[in-house]
């Protein structure tokens, strides 16, 4: 029997639907302590002083972990890709979003741990905050991040992700019509059924066993090892089965702090976020602000696109610069546009840091550009299917970065939808293929766009 292409049942389906799959919160080990976090009540504040003595003295409390307990406080999760770190594992002298973790308490039960977090004495100095990405570069905007209000460390220390191709000025000159619009998709909750959680067990060998809900075992193990300054052989991650992860479970949100608490207490510690923490303190899909101006001809050719993107990164960089770059690479969508001028900024605000979520960087740009294309078709009075098919990526066309497409499928997918909804296409659009451009589909403005495909 052929296995590939077969409608086989899910490997883990029966266990899932009968409630027998073991998730991290199902694991109990002897001598286990429970953890609760002290989180920032302010959007932006300095921390003048913090005293944990009273909390540590409460009966049943076994460890209070603060920034002082972290061997390497700041580690950027994408340092390997050249994105430096900016976020302390636990806040030191400043909090930049409501819900930011400041301390973790491990105690005999969750109630005692919660009480102890409330006994930590802390003196805040509230500071002005920025929430609107559009106003983050105003001359009188308060500076909320040590790097400034937007990410300044793209290649060559540029503070903007740029795409330039052809000449946008020439495209605007030659256009019959230029259509501009503004697009703003909202922040979205990840909302996994399994909230962020970790259980860390100190082993007699000196190793730590970390039960994790991560979407990326080795990636998260690297994060913990970096903060602890330990080699990988002293860590064992147990996981691989996740109760819903849409990007947010790459954050490694609970593992490292829980490991520090387990080490300090010398006992196993479990930290499970409440539903309220999952909603209010875990990272969201980013809100985006996008402005587009498309230079088009009367008969529906897109000659050029100018675009400005402001990505609301929240308080720290996390994966945002990566997301902006990915966004920029896909800002022409499923079409071939010869003249491009794109500027994208990863802007800091005083909200919960945003992170990867299903479609990272591209969900936003697909919304903006596709809605814009629908608008352009409407303004021109051109059939929306025909406009899309005409400009569709074809084999050999080049991407915004100058890479030739080898197996694009804009044409077959659009034809399938036209067919499904009974939208009558004219003959040449019905028989159109994704093969390299020629004849009427290779107008002068696209000649330079056809690259060489290496098979």
């Amino acid at each position: 029997m052929k296995a590939v292409g077969a409608r086989l049942p899910r490997y883990d389906g029966v266990a899932h639907v009968t409630g027998r799959t073991e998730f991290v919160d199902d694991v109990r080990v002897p001598n286990m302590l429970w953890a609760k976090a002290l989180r920032s009540p302010h959007h932006h504040a300095g921390i003048r002083k913090m005293d944990t003595k009273k909390a540590a003295a409460i009966k049943g409390v076994h460890a209070v972990v603060t920034w002082e307990d972290v061997p390497r406080l700041v580690y950027g999760h994408l340092e390997a890709l050249g994105i430096p770190g900016d976020e302390p594992l636990l806040a030191r002298d400043e909090v930049r979003y409501k819900g930011q973790p400041i301390a973790l308490v491990a105690a005999e039960d969750e109630e005692t741990a919660q009480l102890a977090t409330e006994a930590i004495e802390i003196d805040f100095d509230e500071r002005p905050a920025v929430f609107d990405v559009r106003k983050a570069a105003d001359p009188d905007a308060p500076q909320i991040h040590e790097w400034g209000n937007w990410y300044p460390h793209f290649e060559a220390e540029m503070d903007v992700r740029q795409i330039r191709k052809g000449s946008i000025d020439e495209a605007f000159d030659k256009a019959d019509v230029i259509v501009s619009g503004v697009y703003r998709p909202a922040a979205i909750e990840q909302m996994p059924l399994e909230t962020q959680i970790a259980l860390v067990v100190p082993e007699p060998s000196g190793r730590l066993t970390i039960y994790s809900c991560t979407q990326a075992l080795y990636f998260s193990m690297g994060v913990v090892a970096a903060h602890l300054e330990w080699p990988l052989n002293r860590l064992k991650f147990v996981g691989g089965t996740v109760g819903g992860g849409f990007g947010g479970k790459v954050d490694t949100a609970a593992e490292t702090v829980t490991a520090l608490a387990a080490l300090k207490a010398g006992r196993p510690v479990k930290w499970r976020w409440t539903r309220e923490e999952e909603f209010l303190c875990s990272s969201t899909r980013a809100p985006w602000h996008m402005e587009i101006a498309d230079a088009v001809t009367k008969d529906g050719w897109i000659l050029g696109r100018k675009m400005l993107t402001l990505h609301d990164s929240g308080a720290y960089a996390r994966f945002s610069p990566y997301g902006v770059t990915k966004h920029s690479f896909h800002h022409t969508g499923a079409y071939t546009i010869p003249n491009l001028h794109f500027d994208g900024y990863a802007v800091f605000t005083n909200r919960v840091p945003t992170t990867a979520m299903r479609g990272f960087g591209v969900t936003s740009v697909s919304f903006a550009t596709e809605m814009h294309v629908s608008r352009v078709a409407d303004v021109l009075g051109v059939d929306p299917f025909e406009l899309r098919l005409k400009n569709a990526n074809r084999i050999g066309d080049t991407s915004p970065n100058g890479i030739a497409y080898t197996d694009p499928s804009t044409v077959p997918t659009i034809q399938a939808i036209a067919d499904a909804v009974g939208h009558e296409l004219p003959g040449d659009y019905r028989t159109m293929t994704r093969d390299p451009r020629e004849g009427e589909l290779l107008p002068e403005h696209l000649v330079a766009q056809v690259g060489k495909v290496d098979h």
Binding site: V4, R7, Y11, P139, A156, A187, F367, I403, D407
Partner: protein, 368 residues
């Protein structure tokens, strides 16, 4: 006051694998003395079905029944590196790693079988759990017998390892974004049509029907692909008309902190869904597969928003398309875009040009 029906369309693409690549996956396989197969891979299954997909790839590549496969991704002591389950990479990149591990285990299996059958390994193939001489199918030996012979006769262990890495694509011109090699493992494509019903009195938008066509390269498991596309559709519907963390964005206040105060799609929001799978094999993916898991929630929001325009004549460009936004847009419907020379300028009220202060770096000049 009435309900109006409208349709909108979208066509999208999405990369498989991390942007700019550089994200390895590794796997290894051992075969037990009775021919059953243990696969060790570090890919977390986040509900995407990667345990199933990777087991299918191993069964197909080794030529043994699917139910002979045990898949272990439970810990980092046993399993090698998988960069992670994100970037739509678990089927393509991690799938490629288990495919290569299976090919290497199969080579070792054939070497042992060659000793037993006294036929060169190159003249053998594995079909349905049996090693068969090419062109002489009566000369054969079961995979369980080969595994037993390896263990008890030859003192060998049948294993295989595999790894896959698309090399990192560097940005060689930061000013233009030019890269030195393809910054993706593959690109997948989809198109979508949405039909909505809009109540011009309450502003409520109901998504009635979604038609979705995805080119997946090759559907390793069509049932799981359909599940991804249909589950993604509901998530995209949430993005389009229901969900927002900050109801008064950019204000950070009034967030919903529980299921009851956050509008995620429920089963009552489920529209009719037509799913069309197209298979133009990718050049490098396992059995021609591409990743589509993330993009499954991308085509619906723009199609839904365009359908709202088709229904009531207003472009709501801030998501989600809530009743309040629809009603406010209807109030301003007659206003239309500003026409200036050959420019048609929409949405100026929410542009940086209006909201940012004089002297801001963030500007987007429009108009003649």
């Amino acid at each position: 006051m009435a309900k109006h029906t409208g349709r909108g369309y979208s066509a999208i693409e999405y990369p498989t694998g991390m942007n700019q690549n550089g994200d390895p996956s590794q796997a290894w396989i051992k075969i037990k003395p009775d021919g059953r197969v243990d696969v060790f891979s570090g890919t977390a299954d986040i509900g995407n079905g990667s345990k199933t997909i990777q087991s299918q790839i191993v069964a197909e590549t080794l030529g043994v029944p699917y139910d002979w496969i045990t898949y272990d991704n439970s810990n980092t002591d046993s399993s090698p590196v998988c960069t992670g389950t994100f970037a739509s990479r678990a089927t393509f990149v991690a799938g490629k790693a288990v495919e290569k591990a299976a090919l290497s285990a199969k080579q070792k299996l054939l070497e042992i079988a060659a000793k037993e059958l006294e036929i060169a390994p190159d003249d053998l193939e594995v079909v349905d759990g049996e090693v068969i001489a090419k062109g002489a199918p009566q000369r054969k030996i079961g995979v369980p017998d080969v595994a037993a012979a390896a263990t008890w006769t030859h003192g060998e262990l049948i294993t295989g390892t595999g790894a896959h890495l698309n090399p990192y694509a560097a940005i060689v011109e930061p000013e233009t974004g030019k890269v030195d090699s393809p910054p993706h493992a593959a690109i997948s494509y989809a198109a979508c049509a949405a039909e909505v019903e809009v109540d011009d009195e309450t502003g409520e938008v109901r998504v009635v029907h979604l038609w979705q066509a995805f080119d997946v390269g090759r559907a390793i498991n069509p049932t799981l692909v359909e599940g991804q596309i249909q589950g993604g559709a509901l998530m995209g519907l949430g993005l389009g008309v229901l969900e927002e963390c900050y109801p008064y964005y950019p204000s950070a206040e009034h967030r919903g902190g529980e299921f009851g105060s956050y509008l995620a799609p429920g089963i009552e929001d489920l529209p009719a869904i037509d799913t069309i799978i197209i298979e133009n094999p990718s050049e490098a993916g396992p059995y021609g597969a591409k990743g589509i898991s993330e993009m499954a929630n991308n085509p619906q929001p723009p199609a839904i928003a365009a359908a709202v325009y088709d229904a009531v004549g207003v472009w709501v460009t801030e998501l989600p398309v809530t009743p309040e936004r629809v009603l406010r847009a209807l109030e301003k419907k007659e206003q239309g875009p500003r026409r200036d020379g050959k420019w048609v300028v929409f949405d100026e009220d929410i542009s940086v040009n209006t909201v940012a202060a004089e002297g801001s770096r963030f500007r987007f000049p429009v108009g003649a």
